[in-house]
Subunit: 158 residues, 12 copies
């Protein structure tokens, strides 16, 4: 049986440390907690998510390319790569899907090297600064932009 | 009877032209349509809104000062003043309430003079690029950050 | 009886001081003298003018919005706001009328903070440096760009 | 009976919040307390003051123009407009009176966007960083620069 | 018989291509059409013109030097040299005649390398953005600034 | 039997999307088509190629190090890494072989963040802007710079 | 008899010194040697060339204008003018022919004032750093971009 | 008998030339006249001063270190060193006393290399532009910030 | 039996080429020689080392995360990533261990793109320019900062 | 009979206006007066001069190339081209003769666009700011650097 | 009897305040404590030190010149002069001895005006951020770079 | 008997090392040799010199102040202080005597931090790049600008 394509929620370097890493900036939620909350929110809209994290720029590029065929929308927290990776910019640009840039903290309120984003100019929209809530709002935005869930993905058990 | 304090939704210069002004950038929704949708969304959370627009920087400063006493949170689309007004920055900074910066379009994808925001560094969070949906997500964020609605505002009929 | 729409001639901050303020830069003509000369020149072309001045950025934004319905063209001397106001830039951009930027002095020959204009990139043309004559040439340009005078404005006595 | 012209003490945006707003930066004195202290200091020199505050750039421009006729000197705390307003620069430049720039805090010790002043290059002098005392020193400077009090203003009861 | 000195109308590189070259920017008028219209406009004021074009910076410098003796005013469209030639700046500076800078298009609305002009700081005024009309307004300005036509040039047939 | 060392043709991130990705910029040729054409061109000169692509900066560094021993020359399209990777710069610098930088599009005609190359200063030469033809010209340059094909690589079947 | 239009190969200032001038940068080939090699390469494709050099910016502008009618493609080594001439940029932009920018050395590996090119953004492609070989590759590119040789030029003897 | 600690008034390079050096900028008062006026003003508050001048950066650093033990407050006119000396910045920073930066002229109204101050960010306040009066206001500020005069310095005659 | 945690000595891209790569800059010691010398030096202090190298930014991020649990201190030569990797900056920042930045050469004496370090602002200290000796000094610093060796790591043979 | 090679004294744009053009900057000496004085000074050393002026950059490049064979040294006042011409820089660089840069005024004391020189980095020395005397000192320097006068130029009458 | 030449340990402005001055940045060790520790460390290697401090740039220049004859190596903490003194740069450059730049704190982690060093580009190496330990590591580096202690200095008692 | 005032020849930091320090840049002449040559040249004009050197900025400021009374002109080689000392700029500015800036090497051909001079904008002229000859030419310039030698200095024996 065909299932709707999931929303890809892709997370960049060091986000696997969430909860432990500088909680005054990133909050106390672990990445797992965020994943669970995102899945629950997506379920409200009849959506599933595919939630991943990598410290490798190349892997994130691979996943963005994979999303072109396997996702209905992408929520991307590129973390440090937001500010340095033209490769991600190019991969995102080649993606013909709704792309939501998300950040836990507000980069504009931090060091100047976090003020420029290579993702923003090509994202449909940005949600930043609300901690875990940033992800939930991004899921809603992804849902709205992705249109009605479609049935093109065949489940393995089908 | 005491009513909960509303969410102030403050809009800056030229936003009264929405719908007519460059719809390829700002979308086809009029400011009235946005107001109605915001009110509806707020109502879902048991909140009311106080929705205003002005072309005058000083008026927006006045309103932010007024919000300190009369609002539970502020959603601010400072439009052009986002990029030029330190006065709004200072007013927002003196505000001890949740402040959500919102934009219909994605400033990062436009002219370079729209890339810097005097509001972002002091906002709790930012939602940009989703058109009318930006406002709705901001209302949710304002609601979450404002905590439980309180009963300190007395209705006129009381 | 319907009258043709006037050319709006809008003047920014401190221009009400003309004649007294730094005459070596701005000349000895008062703003009233300029108004009279503009009206006379417009009359040569069968045009009327609506000549205004304000020290308030917001008022100038309001007037540019009003011009969209009530003017056939706009001659704008935004004075100091030329260099700082993105709000005027946005208002001018939303205007679907001929827009002529005018300056009494030549901003390029003055302080570096007067070298950039937020109006120029969206004006149809610029006339600068000729004192009162700048306005007269701008009136001619406005007349030419506005096309044949139309009869859509009803006189009060009608 | 004719009274000497007062010293105008003009205050820019958000200064009406003094005492409450970031007291670690601006001190605990309210604007009213500053007004009272300034009046007392001026009285020592046989001067009166006209003490005003506005959040509106245009109103401050209007007041500077009014000062040309109604004041013997101007003490100006343009607050946020110090750093952004060429309109105030131009108005101050057209003023043929002693002009003292004053700040409660020391802008050089704060964010870089507060390091440049459009007022300084045309002020006779600057006093910054001493809180309420900044105003008192500025009153003394205004008094000294204004020369002997003159009798050109007619009192209302006259 | 002595004739009044003509207005020099000097045109820089690639302007000989007008009409064919990027008409969406420069309009459909050929340089010959502009010459004819300028001559007609000048004739209205009892003036003649000397209309020239060169792709060579040195030739334009030579002509500006020649203008010092043979012209009553100069209208200069230095085209690309506007932005690169200090030699033209120096030649124009040595010129003791009214100098009007003219552009068909509005350089401020084009690439950033066209935003700076070496001519503007020493021109009496600038007219830009009106296509052929820019030249006509410049002719009027040149006429006004040149004062009453004088009779110091001897005609060849005299 | 010993075979001559191949020309390495190394391709950076997102080039595996060629043909589908922004064809107005990158053309309609797929990376496979480019590989085939390169091989054919190299064969004309009695050369073979080793054609690879990766989205991972580290992999490209590894390959450049491998080239030092296994290639006679390198043709490198580092794509987005061209503008951000000092690691590739260092790897290329340690390479004692002819290195040709190649681009399908002309980076100078695109966004400013593509105007700087970390590869150019250490490449023997650059070919850019000709689409597939860029690669073919680069193959010829590599062939010329590599000198006569040598026989130091042993074939697997040997 | 009509001959196909030649490829213009235009060379800028000081290139007539090749061979003698800094051979460690520009190589030992004289400009004549390059001309001969280009002609030979063009002949391989059934093309002729028109090879010229000038130290005068204006002459190069003239030649680019002439190319519009008399050439099938242009190979341009603007030398020092590459970095300073907006006039050449404009002339090249008005040219509706394939334009190949060529350099003997690699400007990116030299002084920073050689890193920006006014030609690159409007060239079809760039070949740099290969010495004489740069020209040969550029000839091939010009040939490919020019399409099949046409017969529109009448020989003098015809 | 113990005397209260004096206010150090430290003057940097070339201030010994006052009166003769550019009086249109620095006024006609000699440094001796300033010393006398400062002493008189301090006496009004029951304070003494220790007034010094040096052209040597190192000497000024030494004096600032000496002030830590021997002064109740420091008034510092670092003159040219204001803009270049991080050593003075560091010495002032190590000082745990009220520090008043003072200037005769208004550095903001002079050359751009005088616009930045290494002293301002660590001074309690700044007084600039009032000539001799700057010093007197600074003495008052120093007095106010130093608190009640203390009796810890033993007079030599005691 | 439990062993003290080792010092991680992490090496970035191209350092595996040491000895061969530009010996005039990096010296003639191979990375193996450095490893051996570091181990010997650490042994002097009763420490062991875990010495690794990777050309992959992601792998270095992984290792820094691993160090949080498995190391007593980190000596990091991020090589080219020093200047480009915010991801390493973030990983290092999340590390609650002594971090020593080390370089063989002195980046300040090389190209300007090597003058900025994303590691320095969060390192406890930096040692650069001494070749192999840089590592040995860094080992000593790591040892001193790590405090007394602890016994929390269980040996495999235990 | 063979004569020693002359010193070339080459003058750039607008220097033919000397005496009339801004004498407060350039002095009252005409270019002819300078030529005469230079010739006299050179004669003191047994040298002749070849003194030329052009408004054309290309002509100056030609002359520098000619100097390589016909001069013993070059004194160059490139005037405005000093600041804009890389072509002259390249020509001067190809010259294997003593090259003295000379200026009548002191460019460092004028507009910022005259502060950079493309000639200085390749000149043997610079003399600026002494008016006519600058040339005389430059002649002496040229004489000293050129060594003993040689007899390789054949006079026309020979 | 001849003694080996000592290592000069030169300390710049305000370092005499160590221990008292901002201990959170510079640590609690006094300069005397550092001197003692350095001497002890040097003794381990059979070296002596000559440890000095001055607030005067000129004195430090003198000492660097003296070192050329009287020292075997120099450890230099130029403190504030690190960032401003080209004179020290030049003196260090003229020194033909091992030069080690040392800092107690990590300048890269402090204000941006401490990020550039005029010493680094000419130092053999840098040690920064380890407090007193920085000096000890620098002594070791100086010892290693200075080679075997030599016997050229005659003791006073000899 | 009264003697004419001497020309002060003032030399800045590290110039006492001449001959030994980087002779490829500064030449092989010692400072003594330069002094002797200057004295001889001055004698040709009936002038004496007062030749001094110091590594201390403050001493050079003192000497410039002394020159105001004791010299007829000043030749200043401020060496490193040329680029950093506003104090010397101010002292030179207060000097009402001919001031000649001199350099042995050509700062424009060296590091970028030597390209700006605080002396040039206020010097009468500059001579740079000719080694010892720079000084001799400067002596001639000083002589010419100082006018006829005067007899106001009393000899010691008088």
């Amino acid at each position: 049986m065909a299932l709707p394509l999931p929303i890809f929620v892709l997370n960049g370097p060091n986000l696997n440390l969430l909860g432990a890493r500088e909680p005054q900036i990133y909050g106390h939620d672990s990445l797992d907690a965020i994943k669970t909350a995102c899945a629950a929110r997506a379920a409200l809209y009849g959506r599933s998510i595919d939630f991943r994290q990598s410290n490798h720029e190349g892997v994130l590029v691979d996943w963005l390319q994979e999303a072109a065929k396997g996702a209905c929308a992408v929520v991307l927290n590129a973390a440090a790569f937001t500010h340095t990776s033209i490769a991600l910019h190019d991969a995102a640009r080649a993606l013909r899907l709704p792309l939501i840039e998300v950040h836990l903290s507000n980069p504009s309120a931090r060091e100047s090297f976090r003020h420029h984003s290579y993702i923003s100019p090509i994202a449909h929209g940005v949600v930043a600064g609300f901690g875990l809530l940033s992800y939930l709002l991004a899921i809603e935005a992804a849902h709205m932009l992705a249109g009605a869930p479609t049935q093109t993905q065949t489940t393995e058990e089908a």
